[in-house]
C-alpha cells in the first residue's frame, strides 16, 4: 500500500512538472515581450536624463516630481505643472468623449448588421473592416482633407453661401475628437456585433409580448445582453485613445497636445527620457484606474450573465 501511494505522489509531481514545462514557452514570451520592456521603462523613470537624450545611470526622482510639478528655472521653487495636468485632462476628456461617441454611433451600426440575414452580415462586416487596410496616417490625412480650411466641408459651405470665410475646424480639440471617432469606430462595432449576434431575437419578441414598448425592450433586454460587448468595445477604444499620437499631432497641431504627444516630446526634442518614462507609467496607471472603476461599475448590473 505504501508503495502505491508513493507511486501516485510521484505521478502527481511529474504532472505538475510537465505543466510548467509545457507553459514555459508562453511564460518566456510574456516575460520578454511584456514584463521586460515595462521594467526597463520603470528603471529609466528613476534615472537622470543625459544631455543628448539617453540616460545617466544615477538614481533620481526628479522625473516623477516633474510629472506633476514644475521646477522654476530661476529660483528652484516647485509649482504645479499646469501644462501637464492640462494635457492629462484633455487626454482623459477626449478619450471618454471618443468612447461615448463610438458607442453611440457603433451601437446602431452593430444592431443593423446583427439583424441582417446571415449572408449579407458578412458583407457588412467586411465593409466595416475596410478602413483597417489603410495606414492610420492616410486615414488621418483623409479626415484632415475633409475639415481643413480649404477642405471639402468649408469649400462646399462657401459655395452654397452658408459662410463667407472658412470655419477653423482643424487644430482644435473637436478635430482631434472627429479623427479619433473615425479611427476607433470599428474597434467598437466589432465587439458590439459579436455580442449582438449571440442575442436570441426571440427574447426581443418575448419582451414585446410581455408589454415592453420598443424603448423598454432596448433598455431592459438588448442593452443588458450586449453589455459584455459594450465593455469590451469601450476598453478597446478608450485605451488607444488615451495614448493616441498620430491623430492628435496631425489634427491638433502643435498646441492641442495629448498624452501620446507629450511623451513623444520627452523622448524627442525634450531629451528627457526619464520624464517620458514616468509619464508613460502615469498613463498606464490612469488606464488601470479607469478600467477598474468602469468594469466594477458595469459588472454590478451583469453578474451571472456570460
Amino acid at each position: 500500500m505504501a508503495g502505491q501511494s508513493a507511486l501516485i505522489e510521484n505521478e502527481q509531481r511529474r504532472d505538475i512538472r510537465n505543466r510548467w514545462l509545457l507553459s514555459a514557452p508562453a511564460l518566456l514570451i510574456i516575460l520578454l515581450a511584456a514584463v521586460g520592456p515595462l521594467l526597463i521603462v520603470v528603471v529609466y523613470s528613476l534615472l537622470t536624463p543625459g544631455p543628448y537624450g539617453d540616460v545617466i545611470w544615477k538614481f533620481s526622482t526628479d522625473s516623477w516630481i516633474g510629472v506633476f510639478l514644475e521646477r522654476d528655472i530661476f529660483d528652484d521653487t516647485l509649482s504645479v505643472a499646469d501644462a501637464h495636468l492640462g494635457i492629462f485632462l484633455r487626454s482623459v476628456k477626449l478619450s471618454i468623449l471618443t468612447t461615448i461617441a463610438t458607442l453611440v454611433f457603433g451601437f446602431p451600426t452593430a444592431y443593423f448588421i446583427a439583424t441582417r440575414p446571415a449572408r449579407s452580415r458578412e458583407l457588412w462586416l467586411f465593409l466595416i473592416t475596410i478602413p483597417f487596410w489603410t495606414n492610420l496616417l492616410i486615414r488621418t490625412f483623409a479626415v484632415l482633407e475633409v475639415i481643413r480650411n480649404q477642405g471639402v466641408i468649408n469649400t462646399l459651405a462657401m459655395r452654397l453661401g452658408l459662410i463667407d470665410s472658412p470655419m477653423q475646424m482643424l487644430f482644435t480639440d473637436g478635430a482631434i475628437l472627429v479623427g479619433m471617432i473615425y479611427v476607433y469606430l470599428p474597434l467598437m462595432v466589432l465587439p458590439l456585433y459579436a455580442s449582438m449576434e449571440k442575442i436570441d431575437f426571440r427574447l426581443v419578441e418575448a419582451g414585446y409580448d410581455l408589454y415592453a414598448t420598443p424603448f423598454r425592450v432596448l433598455t431592459k433586454i438588448i442593452i443588458p445582453l450586449v453589455k459584455p460587448g459594450m465593455i469590451a468595445g469601450s476598453i478597446l477604444v478608450f485605451i488607444p485613445s488615451l495614448g493616441a499620437y498620430v491623430t492628435p499631432s496631425m489634427l491638433g497641431g502643435g498646441k492641442n497636445l495629448m498624452l501620446g504627444n507629450l511623451i513623444e516630446l520627452q523622448f524627442g526634442q525634450g531629451r528627457n527620457w526619464p520624464l517620458g518614462s514616468a509619464l508613460s507609467i502615469t498613463m498606464m496607471l490612469i488606464v488601470m484606474v479607469a478600467l477598474l472603476a468602469y468594469v466594477r461599475n458595469s459588472a454590478s448590473g451583469v453578474k451571472a450573465h456570460g
Binding site: 427574447l203 408589454y211 450573465h305
Partner: protein, 364 residues
C-alpha cells in the same frame, strides 16, 4: 346575443416572399375560439399553424382579414398592447434575470407597483410549484423547470388569451406527459383561453376541447377530438390523425344517402355516401385499425380476408397486416391479452370483421 368569442379570425391571409416565390402561409383562415377553451392548431410543420399563432400574438400582421379579441379588432395593434401572452417553443427566458424577475417582467412593464408584482410573482411560483427556485438564474434550470417559468411568466399578467407554441416539443416523453396534465390543470385553475400549437396529434387529442387541423395554410376541419378522429372531413385529416386503413373502391348504387361500393379487393360494402357523389365515382373507404378485429376465415360477419403479412408486437397491442387480394395491406390493431402469445403467425389466412358504422367513405 351569444357570448363573445375569445378570438375571432375572419378571412385572414398572410403571405411570405415576393413575386414568383410568394406563397400564402395563412390562406384564408376563418376561426372562432370560445372563451375558456383549450383550442389546438394541429398540422404538419409548414402548415401555417405557427404563423397563425404569431398573427394572434401580433408578431406578424395579416395582409387581409379581421382579427378580433373579445370583439375588439386587434389586427393592427402592436404586440405590447395586446392582452395576449405567449409561451415560446424554446421558452425565450431572459438569461440576465432571475426566475422571479422573469415572471414579474410583464407586470413591471404594465407599471404595477413593486408590492403587487412581488405578490403576483409568488402566487405564480406557487401555481407552477417553483417557490424554492425564485432566486435562481434561468440557466441553472432543467428543461421542465424552464417550461414552468415560461408558463408562469406568460400567465402572470393574467392575459385574456394564452398562446402556446409547441411548448412541450423539447421535453422527453415522461416529462411531456406530466406537463400535459399540468397544462390542463393550469387552464382549469386560471380559466384563461389557451391556444395551443402542436404537430403531435396525440397531444392534441388528449388535451384539447377543440382542434383545428391545418394544411398548406388552410384550415381543413375544426371540431372536438372525437369529431376529428371519428369523422375526419377528408383524407388528409384522416391520414394525419391516428392510423388509418384506406381502401379504394367505386360507387355502384346510391339510395337514400347510402351507397353500395365495389371495393378494389373484390368485396362490396354499403355505407353512408358523402354528399354530391354519383354512381361511378372513385371513393376511398377509411377504417381505423382498432375498429376491426381478426376472426376465422369462415366465421360469420367476415368482410375481408387474406394471409397475414406481418405480425408486429407493440407492447399493449399487436398490429396484424393482412394482405388483401388486390395487394393492399390492411392493418388490424388488437389489444394483447394474457395467453394469446403465438396465437397467429405470418402466413395464416385470417378473416377481418368490423361493424358497418366503423367505416367512413371519403371522396377521391
Amino acid at each position: 346575443m351569444a357570448e363573445l368569442s375569445a378570438i375571432e379570425i375572419r378571412g385572414v391571409f398572410k403571405y411570405y416572399g415576393f413575386g414568383e416565390a410568394r406563397f400564402a402561409a395563412v390562406d384564408g383562415a376563418n376561426l372562432s375560439i370560445k372563451q375558456n377553451e383549450f383550442f389546438t392548431l394541429l398540422g404538419p410543420s409548414g402548415c401555417g399553424k405557427t404563423t397563425l399563432l404569431r398573427l394572434i400574438a401580433g408578431f406578424e400582421f395579416p395582409a387581409e382579414g379581421e382579427l378580433l379579441l373579445h370583439g375588439e379588432d386587434i389586427a393592427a395593434m402592436p404586440p405590447f398592447k395586446r392582452p395576449i401572452n405567449t409561451v415560446f417553443q424554446n421558452y425565450a427566458l431572459f438569461p440576465h434575470m432571475t426566475v422571479a424577475d422573469n415572471i414579474g417582467f410583464g407586470l413591471r412593464m404594465l407599471g404595477q407597483s413593486k408590492d403587487k408584482v412581488d405578490a403576483r410573482v409568488s402566487e405564480m411560483l406557487k401555481l407552477v410549484r417553483m417557490e424554492q427556485l425564485a432566486k435562481r438564474s434561468t440557466s441553472q434550470l432543467s428543461g421542465g423547470q424552464q417550461q414552468r417559468v415560461a408558463l408562469a411568466r406568460a400567465l402572470a399578467p393574467a392575459p385574456k388569451v394564452l398562446l402556446l407554441d409547441e411548448p412541450l416539443s423539447a421535453l422527453d416523453y415522461k416529462l411531456r406527459k406530466e406537463m400535459q396534465i399540468e397544462l390542463k390543470r393550469l387552464q382549469a385553475e386560471t380559466g384563461i383561453t389557451f391556444v395551443f400549437v402542436t404537430h403531435d396529434q396525440e397531444e392534441a387529442l388528449t388535451m384539447s376541447d377543440r382542434i383545428a387541423v391545418m394544411q398548406s395554410g388552410k384550415i381543413l376541419q375544426i371540431g372536438s377530438p372525437r369529431d376529428i378522429y371519428d369523422r375526419p372531413a377528408n383524407r388528409f385529416v384522416a391520414d394525419f390523425i391516428g392510423e388509418t386503413n384506406f381502401l379504394k373502391g367505386k360507387v355502384t348504387a346510391i339510395k337514400d344517402g347510402s351507397g353500395d361500393i365495389a371495393m378494389n379487393c373484390g368485396v362490396s360494402l354499403s355505407a353512408p355516401a358523402p354528399a354530391a357523389t354519383s354512381i361511378g365515382d372513385e371513393v376511398t373507404v377509411m377504417l381505423r385499425p382498432e375498429h376491426a378485429r381478426l376472426v376465422g376465415v369462415d366465421d360469420a360477419g367476415v368482410v375481408l380476408s387474406g394471409p397475414l403479412a406481418d405480425v408486429i408486437y407493440f407492447g399493449t397491442d399487436t398490429y396484424y397486416n393482412v394482405a388483401l387480394s388486390d395487394g393492399t395491406l390492411f392493418t388490424v390493431r388488437q389489444q394483447n391479452r394474457p395467453g394469446e402469445e403465438g396465437g397467429r403467425l405470418v402466413g395464416d389466412v385470417v378473416g377481418v370483421a368490423f361493424p358497418s358504422d366503423a367505416i367512413r367513405v371519403l371522396r377521391g
